[in-house]
């Protein structure tokens, strides 16, 4: 099950956040900060799956933006990895060459 779907930039600003399980609002910022810290400390050739607390993070970096998906044990990690890429491709098509600005300004469209 996918627990959450985040798009966070390198400075730690959240551009998109969708939680599929209830998380307290103050915990959300903490979670996002920790998650981005974990992702930033990884180098290029380390694997994209991190074990964090009791679930896994699958992350993928696109320029300055990290797309992070939190999944639990039942999901196929590689399929989620592909999903992230597919999502980004869709955004690309929709916004014709999407950039971070597009993401930050059109959150209502992206959210739905």
């Amino acid at each position: 099950m996918i627990k959450f779907f985040l798009m966070v930039n390198k400075q730690g600003q959240t551009r998109l956040s969708r939680y599929y399980e209830h998380v307290e609002i103050n915990k959300r910022t903490m979670l996002e900060a920790e998650v981005i810290k974990n992702c930033l400390s990884r180098s290029k050739d380390q694997c994209s799956f991190i074990e964090y607390k009791d679930f896994k993070l699958v992350y993928r970096q696109y320029a300055a933006l990290f797309v992070v998906v939190g999944i639990d044990q039942t999901e196929n990690e590689m399929a989620v990895y592909e999903l992230i890429h597919n999502f980004v491709e869709v955004l690309d098509k929709y916004f014709s060459r999407v950039s971070e600005l597009d993401v930050s300004f059109s959150i209502s469209e992206i959210h739905l």
């Binding site: 959240t14 998109l16 956040s17 599929y20 209830h22 609002i25 103050n26 959300r28 910022t29 180098s43 050739d45 380390q46 694997c47 994209s48 799956f49 991190i50 074990e51 196929n76 990690e77 590689m78 399929a79 990895y81 592909e82 999903l83 597919n86 930050s104 300004f105 959150i107 209502s108 959210h111 739905l112």
Partner: protein
């Protein structure tokens, strides 16, 4: 009131904020504006305000006052309003707010709306945050929508149904008829969501699962063949631009179908058979150059492992995993390690083939991969490869991150215990772990280690020498220091005498040894427990060393006034030992006996006897410390209980001075639990001493072999002891001896205690005696039952010790019994 700014303006303004405080200020201002606008019930701009509110919510600011506004938006007729309203509902509302129930009616109306997009919105929201009440109310509508021909709606309805089932499992049957036709769709979206729905149903309810497995209507509606057909189409079909991802058509659907096949095929032969072909086909035909292909292969491997596939297929799967391991991409290696971990239990041999690659992964830079490789390596250790694997693992322990060290150390201990090829290797390995990762070792490792060291009698000199060398340089690692000080205390004389066959003996003087122990005591780095160990070790050395007793006395008396209560108590008691009970000091501080192993997690299972087992240290080898004969008797006595021993010397109660003289007798008396245990090397008695074990009724073996002659084992000073034998039919290596003690003198014998020792290959269990008083003139006897286990059918020999009070004086005697009849042990 000026029109509220648009969302974009807001975002732009917030982006110009340079500090967190500025941003907060801006947001607060905007929040105030939004709140006043809400109060004015401004319809036109409501949606804009809520959108801004949602943005602020995403940034982490509280936005609960917008919830009602969302509801109003949902109720409005404009699509834009509804859109933002539903989005707001999904983000801000959940089951816990009471407001959400108000939405139910709105959603119901919208589910029947003419525009499919509105219907879609409503379905989305219901599927996202519907509570169980809402779901119950609206399930009927959802089910109706599942049957429409509009594929856009159908797929949303299927996902919504998944959520409904999750919330209210009882409604599952309602959706069952609709699912029949779902898989006949051409639209991949619908296919995908229907597969998800079917997966959810099968996972939640075993009845559903059985139903889907064996639907025996027209063959075309059987689930497994249908899925197989769809999958085949996906693979075989040519390039389809709609569904293509890097050359593979609709991998997401493929993965989902594979997962559903896995659930269907688990533990079910028929279904598994139907799937074998297609799985093989997928496994061989999928391109592995891109990540997509690998994702599908991964799912295929997982499926093959889970269902009852034929062995050829399993081998194929493990080979695929092996190929993954060699791939350069880290993700793939990680995934391969994870799945190998899952399969190592079942297909152990196949995984062994890839052992070298796995061990290489230990050296990878990536943390996740290292962790997986470590777990997998521990699972793969067996008797054959233990030496090589250990070397790698120890090297890994050296270089890994701290968070791994504890797990790695405990893993190494377990593996070493199970598969150690020789005692020396075992001790070496443990020492290596202690020196490299000493502070991460778990607390219960120390007593286990100590027990292990005691048990390997021939390695004592070697062990103590190595430990000494280890703490000479550095005594900060607590577990290492604890083990080392215990060993030095026990075997200090070996260290000083420099006898060691295995390694070059080093010249150590007694003073040097005491130096190191004292520095441990003084050092700030030593924990309180470690200091306790060191103090006790120093005390034990007072019997082992000859020229430095005064120094030891001084040290001990200094700590009599230590602030640490535990140390103080020990020091005071040891002081008392020096002053008043000096005659008992050698006895109390004797060498520790071989300990029984309580845990049975090794392949070598020690037959646990509740009673005492006498080590044949007496019989086969002279105890390493070169004891005088009197202390042989003491060894006999010093064994009280055999459980895992913490080398903490139990603190004697302060009423010690009140005990009567004849401490040795008290040791025996303790066996009757009249006082608390006193002897120093005797461990804290975790279980009651052996005599009381007889209280639990032990069935005597009444099967009688042809009568075995009884013998008189001992007859002196009026005390006669007879042995009668019984052999059990159920267990031919057990001999039951009943002893009868009688007294032919004029005065009775009181406090009679009988003890026995047997050679190493035997095991002995003493049950409790009938009484401890033998009346005079043979008018009564004491009976006691001894069980002897003789697995190797060797000749039975026994050494007995008797103590009793007679004519006002304490008597004790040792004797050997050699005249056992052959039938008793053959």
């Amino acid at each position: 009131m000026p029109a509220p700014i648009r969302l974009r303006e807001l975002i732009r303004t917030i982006r110009t904020a340079r500090t967190q405080a500025e941003e907060r200020e801006m947001i607060q201002k905007e929040c105030a504006a939004i709140r006043s606008s809400f109060r004015e019930e401004d319809n036109t701009y409501r949606c804009r305000n809520v959108a801004k509110l949602l943005y602020m919510h995403m940034l982490g600011y509280p936005a609960h006052f917008g919830q009602l506004e969302c509801l109003k938006l949902i109720a409005s007729q404009k699509f834009t309003d509804k859109r933002i309203g539903y989005l707001g509902a999904m983000l801000l509302l959940d089951e816990r707010q009471d407001v959400h129930l108000l939405m139910t009616n709105c959603i119901k109306n919208d589910l029947n709306h003419s525009t499919q997009y509105v219907q879609g919105l409503a379905l989305c929201t219901l599927g996202c945050m519907g509570s169980s009440e809402m779901c119950r109310d609206l399930a009927g509508e959802v089910e109706k929508l599942l049957k429409t021909s509009n594929s856009y709606l159908r797929k949303k309805a299927a996902l919504c149904a998944v959520h409904v089932i999750r919330k209210v499992p009882e409604l599952m049957e309602m959706f069952l008829p609709a699912t029949k036709n779902l898989l006949n769709e051409k639209n991949h979206g619908v296919l995908h969501t229907s597969v998800v729905l079917l997966t959810e149903m099968c996972e939640r309810s075993p009845d559903m699962l059985a139903h889907f497995r064996k639907v025996r209507q027209l063959s075309s509606s059987q689930l497994v063949p249908q899925l197989v057909r769809i999958l085949k189409n996906l693979i075989m079909s040519g390039y389809s631009p709609e569904h293509d991802v890097s050359g593979i058509s609709d991998p997401f659907l493929q993965v989902r179908i594979l997962r559903l096949l896995r659930i269907l095929g688990r533990n079910d032969d028929d279904s598994s058979e139907a799937m074998n072909d297609i799985l093989a086909q997928v496994a061989t035909n999928t391109e592995t150059s891109k990540n997509v292909g690998n994702a599908i292969l991964y799912e295929t491997v997982l499926t093959i492992m889970d269902i009852k596939s034929e062995s050829g297929l399993r081998v194929l799967a493990i080979n695929i995993l092996g190929r993954f391991l060699l791939n350069n991409d880290k993700n793939i290696r990680y995934v391969a390690l994870t799945s190998l971990l899952k399969t190592v239990q079942t297909d152990h041999n196949a995984v062994q083939r890839h052992r070298s690659t796995i061990v290489d992964c230990l050296k990878d830079l990536d943390v996740s991969i290292k962790r997986r490789a470590m777990e997998l390596s521990f699972a793969l250790v067996n008797g054959n490869n233990v030496r090589g694997m250990m070397k790698e693992l120890l090297y890994f322990l050296d270089s890994c991150e701290p968070e791994f060290k504890a797990d790695c150390a405990s893993g190494i201990f377990l593996a070493a215990e199970k598969y150690a090829p020789s005692k020396r290797w075992h001790i070496d390995t443990i020492m290596r772990v202690l020196t490299t990762a000493g502070s991460y070792v778990r607390d219960d490792a120390v007593p286990n280690l100590i027990q292990l060291i005691t048990n390997s009698v021939e390695m004592h000199a070697y062990t103590v020498q190595r430990l000494y060398k280890a703490i000479l340089g550095d005594y900060s690692q607590q577990p290492l220091v604890q083990v080392a000080s215990w060993c030095i205390g026990e075997y200090g004389d070996l260290l000083v005498s420099g006898q060691c066959e295995e390694e070059e003996p080093i010249q150590v003087t007694e003073d040097e040894v005491l130096d190191i122990l004292e520095s441990v005591l003084i050092s700030n780095m030593s924990a309180s427990v470690t200091r306790g160990y060191a103090l006790t070790a120093i005390m034990k050395l007072s019997t082992r060393f000859t020229c430095t007793v005064n120094r030891i006395k001084k040290v001990v008396s200094i700590y009599g006034s230590s602030i640490d209560v535990e140390l103080q108590q020990r020091a005071v008691e040891y002081n008392a030992l020096f002053k008043k009970y000096d005659h008992m000091r050698p006895a109390l501080l004797e060498r520790m006996p071989v300990m029984e192993k309580v845990t049975t997690n090794g392949p070598t299972e020690v037959v646990q006897t509740n009673g005492e087992t006498e080590p044949a240290v007496l019989e086969t080898k002279p105890p390493p410390s070169g004891l005088q004969p009197a202390s042989q008797a003491n060894d006999l006595l010093d064994l009280l209980g055999g459980s895992d021993i913490a080398p903490v010397i139990p603190t004697a109660p302060t009423s010690k001075p009140a005990c009567a003289g004849g401490e040795l007798l008290d040791l025996l008396g303790d066996l009757n639990l009249t006082g608390s245990p006193v002897s120093a090397p005797a461990p804290q008695i975790a279980q009651p001493p052996f005599l009381l074990d007889g209280l639990t009724s032990q069935p005597l073996f009444n099967d009688v072999a042809a009568g075995i002659p009884s013998i008189t084992a001992y007859n002196k000073n009026g005390l006669k002891i007879d042995f009668t034998f019984e052999r059990s039919n159920t267990n031919p290596s057990v001999t039951v001896i009943t002893i009868q003690a009688s007294n032919s003198t004029e005065l009775e014998m009181t406090d009679f205690v009988f003890q026995a020792a047997v050679p190493k290959t035997f095991q002995l269990q003493l049950l409790s005696p009938s009484s401890s008083v033998i009346p005079a003139f043979n008018s009564g006897t004491i009976t006691q039952v001894i069980k002897v286990l003789n697995p190797q059918k060797q000749q039975l020999r026994m050494r007995i010790k008797l103590t009793y009070n007679h004519k006002g004086s304490a008597m004790q005697d040792l004797a050997e019994v050699n005249n056992f009849p052959p039938q008793s042990w053959q």
